[in-house]
Structure formats: C-alpha cells, structure tokens
Amino acid sequence: MSEQTADPVAALRQPAHRVSRRAIVWWTVRALIGWLVVLAPATVAVLVVPQRPPGAVAALVVLVLLAATHTAVMPRWRYHVHRWEATDDAVYTQAGWLNQEWRVAPMSRIQTVDTERGPLQQLFGLATVTVTTASAAGALRIEGLEVRLAGELVEQLTATTQATPGDAT
C-alpha cells in the first residue's frame, strides 16, 4: 500500500497488445444491427400510423442521431481501450469505452480457456477467448482477436495452466 506514482493510469499495468483492427469493423456492424432492430420498427410506425402523437418525428430524429453518434464513436473508442496480455504469471485484459474495466487473473487460478466465434466474428475472421476462474463472478474475455492468434493464445494458456499445480481456488 505504498506505491505513489506520478501517473496512476500508467501504473495500472497496461496490457501490451491491442486487439485486431478488424474489430472496429465488427463492432460497427454489430452496433448497426442493434440499432436497426430498434429503428426499423420505429420508422415504420411513424410512417404508417395515421394519427401519430406530437413529437414522434422529433423523437425518431433524436434516436437516429444517437444511433449515428454511437456507431461512429463507440468502435474507435473501444479499439483504443481494449488491450490484452498473457505473461508467464497472469492474464491481463482491459476493455470498455464509457465504462472501462481492467482485469487480471493469475495463471495458477485459471480453470478453463475457451474460444468462441459468432457468425459476425467468423465473417471478419475474429474470435473471442474466454478465460474462466473458480469464481462465480465472471470470466475474462478477450474480444476481437484474429483467429490464428486466438488459437495460439489458447494453446499457450492451456500449456501454462496445466503445468501449474493446485485446484485453482
């Protein structure tokens, strides 16, 4: 409880690696699809319903502007925040945009390592690596890694954790 550094943000060990640049495109498409689900029915409703309440058009415009801003800003912001690193001792991740989270899990506490690829990620050649520990409080996720890199990471983590004794609790 003694360390006082000049720049506290830098002292929070910045994980070394960025995720794939293609993740920006993936996050953009994902956001667009999400907004489409909301906006398409709303637009249809505004166009079709004969007696629309006052302010409906204005609300729709606000929603569209919000969607455009989110889709434009979020992926790039995320790309600057999302980072990961696997050392001999621990796995580090950093994620988020408005709300950011930094996580560490020591190698000796890791229980399982999985990869997962949704249809969109497959389209862009990306994968998500999930590292679980014995806690019920959620796993570490590294989103938007290139598939080949994700495979190598899983192999490396599996080898390291197998070499570490103990039941990880």
Binding site: M1, E3, E101, W102, P106, A134, A137, D167
Partner: protein, 484 residues
C-alpha cells in the same frame, strides 16, 4: 447401521424411512384432509380418491427407498436413484466441501438425519448437491467423517457432544434480546398469519364468526382511522416480536460452534429441526460481519463464513444475531488471529471525499425527484401541498443521512493476511477476506469515476458472493491493492 452392503459396496437408505417418508407425506396432506372433511360433509364421493392419492404417495416412498443406493469408494461418492428416470451421480471425493446433517422432528423421532453433500459446483441450475434422505444418525456421522477427512475420527452423534472439538462459541440466552431486531421475524409472522387465514378461508370457515374477532372488528369500526392504525401496528409489533423470539429459539437452540480435530468448523443448532453444518477449514476464505440497521442500533451483528462451495445464505451462518463484540471475537477465533487483533475490527482507510459526493448524488436525487413529483401534483391540484412538504421534510434529511452513513462505513485495509472491506448502511458489511484466497482483480472506472479520479477495485474469489468490491477508492489505492 442395520444394513449390509451388496457386492459392489452399494448401501441403501435407512429402512426406517419406509415409515418416515409416508408419515411425512401424510403430514403434508393434513390441510387437504381437513378441507376434505369439511367439504365432504355433503357429497361422500371424495373419500376414495383421497385414499388413492395417499396410497400412491406411500407407494412412491417405498419405491424411492428401493431404488436409491449410494456408495463411497476410494475416489468417489456415488448415488443412484430413480426407476423410470434413472440417475447416477458421482462426485470426486476431493471436490466435497460441505457435509450437512438436518433432522426434522419426524426424522429425529426415528433417529434419522438428512445428509447433504455440497461440492460447490453451480452448473446450469444444478446446485451440485447430493442428498441422502435419510440415513441413521450414526451413519450420517460416519459419512461426515469419511467424506470430509481422510483420517478416522472418534464418532459422535448429532445430539450428543462433539468428539474432541474445541468450542469457539456457544449460545448465551442474553442474546435473545437481538431476536426482535431481526426483520425476518416480523416477515415470518406475516407469512404465517396469511397462511392460516387462507387455510381457514379455503376450509369455508369465516374468521369473523369468532366472537373475539367480531368484537374487535365491531369495536374498531366505530373508531377514527388513527386509532385503527395504531391498534393494527401494535398487534403487528407484538406478534412480530413473539414470532422473532420463537424463530430465534427454534433456529439457534443448543447452538455450538466447534473446531473439530479433522480440520472442520462445525455449527450445531436447532430445537425441533437439528442442523449440523460442517465446513472444511481449508475451504474457508474469510468471514463477513453483517449489521442490519436495527441490529446495529442494538449493537448486535451476525457472522457468516466465506467458504468456497457453500455460497451465501442460511448455511454460511456461523453465529446467531449476537453482540457485535462477540461476533468480532468469534471472527478472530475462526480466522485464527489473536482476539484483540480481529481483522474485522481494524480501522479502515477512508475513501476520498469524491466518494461522499457520489453517495450524496445517488441518495438525494431520487428523494428530490419524489418531492418534485408531489409538488407538481400539488400545483395541478391533483393533491394538496402537504404531501410534498412532508416528503421534503422526511425524505431529504433521511437521504442525506443515508449517504453520509454509507460514506462513513466505506473503507478498506490490508490487515496482515486479510483484506478488510467495509460498506453499506442499511446493512453494514465488514468482509475480511484471506489474501491468499483472492484469485484475481478487476479495476473498473465509469465516466464519472474517471472524472473524479476514483476507481472500484474488485477482489475476485471462489468463496461467498464470488467478488468483493472496494468501491470508489482513489486509483492509486486500487492499483496498490491489485499488487498487494
């Protein structure tokens, strides 16, 4: 152990269950029986199906006894059950974390106990628990000893003195004064009252026919509203206090916390239903001292264990509601620290004033919105103005007090082998977590936290709630924690 194992080492449940299981079902049928007797006065046809159902229930009980078998091998505990849906569950013995014995009154009459074997695996709704309903007390004790420890232990029974254990705490009747300070007591009386009311109604019984009830209702109908409210509150209070006392005595009669020679902590308690909860000490990751507002006002507290595989709730309780000092003392004994250095009593490092600001904003904003809503209703003549004034006079100061108290209770400290975290107001929590039990850290920062230079550091653990948050400390402290 009146039974012999077959060739594969498989054992049956205690044959006395052939009597207990149907008896249990019949007890469960009593409300239905009463209803049938009352309703059946007119048409006599309902009797045969009732007996049919009873017969089926008894038959199912016998079938369950016949099909359930278990065995303990060198590596695994196995349980087979079911006729149509056969189940074969098998748990590695080194995964077994808790062994609990519960004996309800009917079980106790026959010298039986229900054994629950917890593994701490929570996969897709399954609680990873093996239940043997039921075995004899001696067999339960044997299994407990075999499953939790690999060496042999002097046998002891559920009701008798534990063999060779070191006593850490026992019930003091002076603690009964904390019973009325538990909200659960009042709630349980409400539930009981509602249940009885519904039962009587279903039986076609009009409660207002009772002379005393009718008299009370008649007396009250002529009174002003204020008197009725006071009378109702008084009745609720008295029954609530009585209910809380009964509940406390039932749950904690004969309470003893012991450290057994086989390396387990063991809680024995209960008047009608005896419970024996065993917890392997090497699974213990820390303790939690809880002080709900009422209990805190009476200088009382509750003590819970944080252990891998036991989750939270009833089974992690190490002590009944008791004096705060006693709770801290037992906490120190459980954690094997000197009594005067209980980690839970360590002075905590205060968090920055920005944390107070966040608490004020969060508490006062909803109160202010409520006041404004009342005021707007007053301005539109939907309501008179006095609710708005009353809301402002009560809610605003209360929310400020809440925020200040939440801030005062907020803090953290690294005390030797333990991380100590304080939080809460309505329920003040002090968690002492063994640092070697922390299996990872998270540091999260929302937009507002970044603006205020704050961060929330979360210690991830396999025990209890799984994650313990050090909220709104300064970033440097959060980073220091992740490195400690």
């Amino acid at each position: 152990m009146s039974q012999e194992a077959d060739a594969g080492g498989w054992l049956r449940l205690d044959p006395r269950m052939l009597a207990v299981a149907p008896a249990q079902e019949i007890v469960r049928f009593i409300p239905l029986l009463i209803a049938a007797v009352i309703a059946g006065g007119r048409g006599g046809g309902q009797w045969w199906w009732l007996f049919g159902a009873l017969g089926a229930v008894v038959g199912l009980g016998v079938l369950r006894w016949l099909t359930t078998r278990y065995r303990v091998t060198a590596e695994r505990m196995e349980l087979r059950s079911g006729l149509l849906f056969r189940q074969h569950r098998s748990v590695p013995r080194d995964r077994i974390r808790t062994v609990d014995v519960t004996a309800k009154p009917l079980h106790r009459m026959f010298g039986l106990g229900v054994l629950r074997i917890g593994t701490g695996q929570h996969e897709r709704g399954r609680n990873g628990e093996l239940t043997l309903d039921a075995v004899s007390s001696a067999e339960a004790e044997r299994l407990r000893a075999v499953l939790l420890d690999r060496s042999t232990v002097a046998p002891s029974t559920l009701d008798g003195p534990a063999g060779g254990g070191v006593e850490l705490a026992r019930l003091s009747w002076a603690w009964l004064r904390f019973a009325p300070l538990t909200v659960l007591g009042v709630a349980s009386v409400g539930a009981l009252f509602g249940g009885v009311w519904q039962l009587l109604n279903e039986a076609g019984f009009d409660v207002t026919d009772i002379g005393a009830v009718r008299g009370a209702v008649d007396w009250l109908t002529g009174r002003p509203v204020g008197v009725v409210i006071v009378a109702a509150a008084a009745v609720l209070l008295v029954t609530g206090v009585l209910g809380a006392l009964v509940r406390y005595v039932e749950a904690w009669w004969g309470y003893r916390l012991t450290r057994e020679p086989d390396g387990t902590l063991r809680v024995n308690r209960g008047l009608l239903t005896r419970r024996s909860v065993s917890l392997e000490e090497r699974r213990l990751r820390g303790v939690e001292v809880d002080e709900p507002l009422l209990l805190r006002a009476g200088r009382g507290a509750r003590l819970n264990a944080l252990a891998t595989g036991s989750g939270s709730g009833d089974r992690s309780a190490l002590m009944p509601p008791a004096p705060r000092a006693a709770a801290h003392q037992v906490a120190a004994a459980v954690l094997r620290t000197p009594a005067e250095q209980a980690p839970t009593t360590r002075p905590l490092r205060r968090h920055p004033l920005a944390a107070l600001r966040r608490r004020l904003v969060r508490a006062v904003t909803p109160a202010a919105i409520a006041v404004l809503a009342f005021w707007a209703a007053g301005a539109r003549h939907a309501l008179p103005y006095w609710p708005a004034v009353a809301a402002a006079a009560v809610l605003l100061p209360a929310s400020v007090l809440l925020a200040v108290d939440r801030y005062r209770n907020l803090g953290h400290a690294v005390a030797g082998e333990h991380l100590v975290v304080g939080s809460g107001s309505l329920v003040r929590r002090t968690v002492a977590l063994r640092r070697s039990g922390i299996i990872g850290w998270r540091v999260s920062r929302s937009v507002f936290q970044r603006a205020a230079g704050l961060a929330t550091a979360t210690a991830v653990t396999a025990a209890g709630a799984g994650a313990y948050e050090v909220r709104d400390c300064d970033l440097t402290a959060a980073i220091a924690l992740t490195r400690s």
